[in-house]
Subunit: 118 residues, 2 copies
């Protein structure tokens, strides 16, 4: 059955350890709960001054920036991003998403199910 | 290597057979070209009065509406959608995306690689 929802109605999970991840909220829009067979679509909202951890893992990211100003940091570089920009992070590549703007940074991040921790 | 791009810089492929698909443009943001191993992220822009075909196939869709007003039609129903709405279309479920607004309808649609025709 087709499932349709509003992002704002999806419960958020906060990621903030005061160091590696700061002011990051994740909403799983489509994933294991909908019995998605292969990959999970998540929406991240990162508050002013916040970031995701600088890390790597065996699964890829496919990212689309919805709102705000940010920076993608990776081995050997960093790149400013904004709305309409997208990013592909291959498996095992180091990466971090940093909010460099005055408002929230919002992006979608799609991962294979093995990368979805709920 | 992390790959970052702008959607508007990606070449569009038009889908318009005057009947089933009308005024639909697809941009493959991340997919086989980037050696994505599992799934492909595409951005669709559907002009006023346009639509994707009403059809089904063995792979799922995970969709996020970026802009405009539309309707998702499926077996047994239809539902209005707009920005911030998302949709999950399971494998083998009939579905269609219709632009019901006065401007363009834009959405992301992620599919497993088997569903990517380039």
């Amino acid at each position: 059955m087709v499932h349709i929802g509003r992002s704002r109605d999806v419960e958020a999970r906060m990621y903030d350890d005061g160091e590696n991840a700061r002011r990051a909220e994740k909403r799983v829009l489509v994933g294991p709960r909908e019995n998605a067979p292969n990959f999970s679509m998540r929406k991240f909202t990162i508050g002013k001054g916040g970031c995701s951890p600088y890390h790597k893992h065996p699964w890829e990211h496919e990212v689309y920036v919805l709102a705000g100003r940010g920076e993608v940091r990776f081995a050997g570089g960093r790149r400013a991003v904004g709305p309409d920009d997208f990013a592909y992070v291959p498996p095992n590549d180091e990466h971090q998403f940093v909010n460099t703007g005055d408002g929230v940074l919002e992006f979608l991040c799609v991962v294979p199910l093995e990368g979805e921790d709920g």
